[in-house]
Each structure stands twice: as structure tokens, then as C-alpha cells.
């Protein structure tokens, strides 16, 4: 038998997986329980019902070597309420972030940067503004970094949604 580790490339990869599941109670905990019980990573997880169907789609971003990713896909497939698991190769990914800033900042600067990241000011009150941006995950990370100089009061990210090209 060839050495298991050399058979699989042990390099850690980031994998986007979408899972179509029956839209029933407990299904989210089954998925999350699978990851926690077997020691797999969840970097991001989003879930929403699918149009006109009894199913929901989950988009999971995980990391691991090829062997781990293979097992995750197989184990997900094994869960009874899972209809389909897609191991995405070539996807458009979108991540959304909401950031709240004090109204005392330079609003013009914030607006310009947000626009560069497909974002915009969403809401303004007498003491704060909320900006959103929707872009690829690494660009959103970058956006958050750039905006740190405005001392954000609150940052909320959506997690990733993805679609095969």
C-alpha cells in the first residue's frame, strides 16, 4: 500500500462547497454537528431556502488537505436530508459586509472607498452611518482593513455565497 500522505497532496486548500438540503428542522445542526464531531473546519456558512422548492442551499467554505475535503464531501452526502453536494472548482463568490461608523468621520472619504468595493452608504442617523459592500471574500477583507482607520463601531459579515461560472 502506498503511503497515505504522499498519495494525497497534503497541502491545505480552501474549498467552497454548496449543499442542497431538505428544508426541515434540525438539518443545520446535523451539518454543523458533522463538522464539529469530525474536527473539520467551517470558515463560513450561509443558508437560505431555494426558490419554489422544499430545499435549502448551504454554502460552506472550509479548509483542509485533499483527503479531508474528500471525506467532508462524502460525509455530507451520507446525511439523510442531503440531496446534493457540489465541490466547486470555478465560482463567483460574494461576501457582504456592513460597517457602522461615527458620524464625526470624513463621510466623503468613506463614500469614495465604499464605492470602490461595490458599496454604498446605506443608512445615516444623527450619530452614525452604516456602509455596506459586496465583493469577493479577499476584497472584503481588504475593505475592512482599509476602513479600520475610520474606527468602525461595528462590523458584520454575511459569509459567502457562490455560484459556478
Amino acid at each position: 500500500m502506498s503511503n497515505f500522505n504522499s498519495y494525497y497532496n497534503s497541502e491545505t486548500i480552501r474549498q467552497v462547497i454548496s449543499v442542497v438540503v431538505l428544508n426541515e428542522h434540525n438539518v443545520l445542526s446535523r451539518i454543523v454537528g458533522l463538522f464539529s464531531a469530525r474536527g473539520y473546519n467551517i470558515d463560513s456558512l450561509t443558508v437560505a431556502p431555494m426558490e419554489d422548492s422544499p430545499y435549502s442551499r448551504m454554502t460552506i467554505v472550509t479548509t483542509g488537505d485533499k483527503r479531508v475535503i474528500d471525506q467532508i464531501v462524502k460525509q455530507l452526502n451520507k446525511l439523510i436530508p442531503v440531496l446534493k453536494v457540489n465541490e466547486h472548482k470555478n465560482v463567483i463568490e460574494k461576501d457582504t459586509v456592513l460597517m457602522k461608523f461615527s458620524i464625526d468621520n470624513n463621510l466623503a472619504d468613506i463614500d469614495v472607498i465604499a464605492r470602490a468595493y461595490h458599496g454604498a452608504i446605506q443608512n445615516v442617523t444623527h450619530d452614525s452611518i452604516i456602509v455596506s459592500a459586496t465583493d469577493s471574500s479577499d476584497r472584503i477583507i481588504n475593505f475592512i482593513k482599509v476602513m479600520e482607520k475610520f474606527n468602525p463601531l461595528e462590523v458584520v459579515r454575511s459569509g459567502i455565497v457562490a455560484m459556478e461560472r
Binding site: 500500500m1 503511503n3 431538505l22 428542522h25 454537528g33
Partner: protein
């Protein structure tokens, strides 16, 4: 027809052909019990602990291949059942567990005897359900039986709130299951099978590595056929004992930590390991990177997650083992298969050089002796269950198994307390036949579910419990001796009950024996009287389970019989 949810449970079990359920009543399941009182479809066996209900259902399932059923109440009833459920999950045993739950109006309020049952059972069931609406109840029970027994079998749990069992609804039992998300792969891929058969034709030292899946898919006799037609040697895991039949000239023993020399050397030297429903458990493989290190692997399993989980599968085949093995047998004529006689002869030499043995004495009973003795007396008439520990390994090593489902043991989870309830489940399954159910147990294990002697005597289930008493938690003591410089932390069981009196207190036959002659007399008496019995056998205290592959070593680094080489 309109009826209560409780009545629906009974009618559904009847539709599934259930002939016996093992259970224990309580507050949240009382509506169901009221209907059990009124029905005469099936027998209800009242165990004395919920863990034993589930394990008895397992014993029934393991010995017959049918799906076992256990019914328990909410809260502590259900948490008691969990060990049994986890046990069934680890060994892929088809059982359906029905539990009561507090009324839906109380769920989430920390009500009396409330526990998040589906939350607790999720990691150790194949699937589980909380019934929210009475109209779902028949469909869910139908699905539960289907899921438990198809694909890779396993336990399925159905949790039913008390108000659902009280409600009235229409009972429409589905004639078939419609689950678009559940489609286990039964049929092997033909290309993969062809490649595997070509690998067999080209191999020089192929080896059948037979696992518990061979029993679950009922293909023991097909595997014997395959081995014979190809003249390939075979070894078994603990879970597969009995598949090949110990008298089979192509059988070279159990492999693994306490496996036979010939079996472990076969795995070490093979150039093509053919895994039939085995899962490369760490107790089998020893050091994984050195397990079958010279071999390519054909890996056949119905569960795709088992394939390439721990080792590389050069020729993976996902499918039902029985269908796959049948196809392999049919395909043999299309291949020119090598002659493997030299390989078989080599393994015979290994077996003759280092047979399984122990140093017998006449003044003191060695624990292996009663096991061999019962094998000689009962032969294939016996159904053997065990608890967990040294006696379990000795039984796997020294009992002459002749057919599948003759051997019932807790493999994956290693549940102490398993033996007696499992044996009573098997005894119920074979009640009225000439089969004799014997439970080999230890002085540690037996006390974990001793109360089931009461169930045995109430329902006249003539289980013969043979307690191999060495006044130790023997297996832990063995490890302490070998790996912890003999520091026997909390494994000395000198303080013990009077087992004979204990048996009699439960209205069973009780014996204490310390000579071979006494053992023969007691065993004969128990078999003849056909009553549940407990025979305490005083055995040599410090006997060890050998051979042994120490943890973290490879299979060819075995400690063989001590002082005899």
C-alpha cells in the same frame, strides 16, 4: 382509519412485521404502553434498564438479521438508552428506537423528564426524528425501518411527544418509502469490478480481509465460495468471526491486536489486500502506515465514506457486498487466475509454527479452557455473546465458530455490560429451537447489567452466563502490567458478590466451579434444565491475552506466548 398516535405506533410496528419489542415504560410514553396492553400483535419484553432494552434489540438483530425495536420513555429513560444506541451505531446494527417526549407545549421549558433527545442521539444514529405532527407519524416510522435496514444499516431514533400520541388522526401507512435524498448505492460499478478482478488475476499473494459487513449483507457463504473458487486465503476481523468457518482450510484466523500469527503475517506479506466490508479499525491495523504495506488494496464497502478514510484504495468499489461478491464469482471464468497454492502453503506453515495456544493445567482452570470446552460440547448449536475485555478476546480466539451470526459482540464501542442483554435478545429470537445461547463474561462486565437476569427468568430465556472470574478488570490489568510497570490502579476486584447466590436471587440457576469436572457438571446441568443460569468459573488470575500487538506497533511485531518459546 382514525385512531390515536399511540395506536398508530402499534399498527405501524405490526405493518413492519415486528414480533417482539424490548422496552421500559414511563410518563411520556404511557399512551403507547396503554395500546401495548390492548394489542396482541407482538410480544413486549420488559427489561430492567433502558440500556438493556436497546442492547437486547441489538442481540435480536445481530443474531437474526431482522430489525430490532426498543421503546423507552423521555429524559432519563432515553439517556440510559444512549449507550446501546451508540453501540449499534458503531457496529452498524439495524434497530429502531422509539422514545417518548414531553408534550410539544412543554418542549423547551426544562419540563419534568425533558431532554433534547434528538440533539443527544444525532451523533450516534444513522438518522433521527422528532415527530411534530400526528399526520407525519406513520411515514416517519416507515422511513425509520427503511433507513435502519438498508444501505449501511444502523440505529434510527424516533422521538414522539406525549400530546402527539394522544391526538387522533387518520392512519394511512405508506406502502413505499419516497425519500429523494436517500439512495444508497447497491450496485457496484462494472468498470471498477473489472479492474479489481484483473488485479486479482495478476496478484501473487492476494488475501481476503473479511469484516463485519460480510455478516450485515448476509454473504458469508458467498465469500467462502469466492475464496474456494480462487484458492485465496482469508482472514477475519473480530466482527466477522464465523464468516469463513474455522474449519475452512483457506481460513487463517482473526487478525489485529490479538490476532493469530498466521493472519497478521498474511496481512503483512500480501501483495493484494481484498477488503470485504471491513473498515481498517485501529485495533485491526496496528501502525497504519505499516499495515499491509506491500499491498495494493481492493476496498469493497457500501458506505463511500469508509473508502479511503484511513488507507488508500487502489481499487475502490462502492456497493452491496453480497451483490459484488456474487458478480466476482460469476466473473472468475473470464480471467486467467494465478495459482496461489504456494501462498496458501506458506500461511499453513506459519499457522503450524505458531498456532493459537495456551498452557493448560489441571489444578487451575485457564480461562481459555471453558471456551474451548463449550465449543466442543455445543459446536454449531451455540450462539455466543460476550461482554468486553479479556474473555471477549479469548472467546474470539478459541471458540470454534462455524457460521455467520453465531457470534455477538460489541466491537466498535466496546460496551461492558453488553453480553447479558444481547444474549437475552438472541435467546428470545431463537426461543423454542435447539440453539443454546451462551454469554461469556467477566467478573467486571457482568455487574454492569446483572439486573437482566431478572428479565431472563421472567421470560424463560435460558441464557447461560459463564463468568470467567479472575478477580480483576483483566484487560486493563494486562495493560497496566505491560505498559504501566505493574501499577494496578483500581483494577483489583477482590471484593465481589457471591455470584451463585446472586443468580439464585434472580430465580436463575447458580454455580461456582473451580475444577474442570465441576465445570462440566454445572454446564451439563444448565443445558439440560433449559433455565437461565450463571456459572462462576474461578480461573487463573494472571493469564494474559496473547498474542498481542502492542499499541502503535505493526502487525508483524507480535508478542507471542510467554515462557513457551
Amino acid at each position: 382509519m382514525r385512531m390515536s398516535g399511540a395506536k398508530m405506533v402499534i399498527e405501524s410496528l405490526h405493518k413492519e412485521g415486528v414480533e417482539v419489542v424490548f422496552g421500559y415504560p414511563g410518563g411520556a410514553i404511557m399512551n403507547v404502553y396503554d395500546e401495548i396492553y390492548k394489542q396482541n400483535y407482538f410480544e413486549h419484553i420488559l427489561n430492567r434498564h433502558e440500556q438493556a432494552c436497546v442492547i437486547a434489540a441489538e442481540g435480536y438483530a445481530r443474531s437474526t438479521g431482522k430489525t430490532g425495536v426498543a421503546i423507552v420513555t423521555s429524559g432519563p429513560g432515553f439517556t440510559n438508552a444512549i449507550t446501546g444506541i451508540a453501540d449499534a451505531y458503531m457496529d452498524s446494527i439495524p434497530i429502531v428506537i422509539i422514545s417518548g417526549q414531553v408534550p410539544t407545549t412543554i418542549i423547551g421549558t426544562d419540563g419534568f423528564q425533558e431532554i433534547d433527545a434528538v440533539g443527544i442521539s444525532r451523533p450516534c444514529t444513522k438518522h433521527n426524528y422528532l415527530v411534530n405532527k400526528i399526520e407525519d407519524l406513520p411515514r416517519i416510522i416507515k422511513e425509520a425501518f427503511h433507513l435502519a435496514s438498508t444501505g449501511r444499516p444502523g440505529p434510527v431514533h424516533v422521538d414522539i411527544p406525549k400530546d402527539i400520541t394522544a391526538q387522533i388522526g387518520d392512519f394511512i401507512y405508506p406502502s413505499e418509502v419516497n425519500m429523494p435524498t436517500y439512495k444508497p448505492t447497491m450496485n457496484y460499478n462494472k468498470k471498477q469490478l473489472k479492474r479489481a478482478m484483473e488485479a486479482i488475476s495478476n496478484a501473487k499473494k492476494p488475501l481476503l480481509y473479511v469484516g463485519g459487513g460480510a455478516i450485515l449483507s448476509n454473504c458469508g457463504y458467498e465469500i467462502r465460495d469466492l475464496a474456494k473458487k480462487l484458492n485465496i486465503p482469508a482472514v477475519e476481523t473480530l466482527m466477522a468471526r464465523g464468516v469463513m468457518g474455522d474449519e475452512n482450510p483457506l481460513f487463517f484466523g482473526m487478525l489485529g491486536m490479538h490476532g493469530e500469527y498466521s493472519a497478521n503475517m498474511a496481512a503483512h506479506e500480501t501483495d493484494l489486500l481484498i477488503s470485504l466490508g471491513a473498515r481498517f479499525d485501529d485495533r485491526v491495523t496496528g501502525r497504519l502506515d505499516e499495515f499491509a504495506s506491500k499491498a495494493k488494496v481492493i476496498h469493497i464497502d457500501i458506505d463511500p465514506t469508509s473508502i479511503a478514510k484511513l488507507v488508500v484504495a487502489d481499487y475502490p468499489i462502492v456497493g452491496d457486498l453480497r451483490l459484488t461478491v456474487q458478480a466476482m464469482i460469476e466473473d472468475i471464468e473470464n480471467h486467467e487466475i494465478n495459482d496461489f497454492s504456494n501462498w496458501v502453503e506458506l500461511l499453513k506453515e506459519y499457522r503450524e509454527k505458531e498456532p493459537l495456544r495456551y498452557i493448560d493445567t489441571d489444578d487451575l482452570i485457564k480461562p481459555q479452557w471453558p471456551i474451548e470446552r463449550v465449543g466442543k460440547i455445543l459446536g454449531d448449536n451455540a450462539i455466543i455473546s460476550t461482554d468486553v475485555g479479556q474473555h471477549q478476546m479469548w472467546t474470539a480466539q478459541f471458540f470454534p465458530f462455524s457460521h455467520p451470526r453465531q457470534w455477538i459482540t460489541s466491537g466498535g464501542l466496546g460496551t461492558m455490560g453488553f453480553g447479558l442483554p444481547a444474549a437475552l435478545g438472541a435467546a428470545r429470537a431463537f426461543k423454542g429451537t435447539n440453539k443454546v445461547v451462551v454469554n461469556f463474561t467477566g467478573d467486571g462486565s457482568i455487574l454492569m447489567n446483572i439486573q437482566e437476569l431478572m428479565t431472563c427468568s421472567e421470560y424463560e430465556l435460558p441464557v447461560i452466563n459463564i463468568v470467567l472470574n479472575n478477580n480483576y478488570l483483566g484487560m486493563v490489568r494486562q495493560w497496566q502490567t505491560m505498559f504501566y510497570e505493574n501499577r494496578l490502579a483500581e483494577t483489583d476486584l477482590t471484593a465481589q458478590p457471591k455470584f451463585k447466590m446472586l443468580a439464585e436471587a434472580f430465580n436463575c440457576l447458580g454455580y461456582t466451579v473451580s475444577t474442570k469436572k465441576e465445570f462440566d457438571e454445572a454446564f451439563k446441568d444448565a443445558v439440560e434444565k433449559r433455565k437461565p443460569a450463571m456459572i462462576e468459573v474461578i480461573v487463573a488470575r494472571n493469564e494474559e491475552v496473547l498474542p498481542m500487538v502492542p499499541n502503535g506497533h505493526s502487525l508483524n511485531e507480535m508478542t507471542l506466548l510467554k515462557g513457551d518459546k
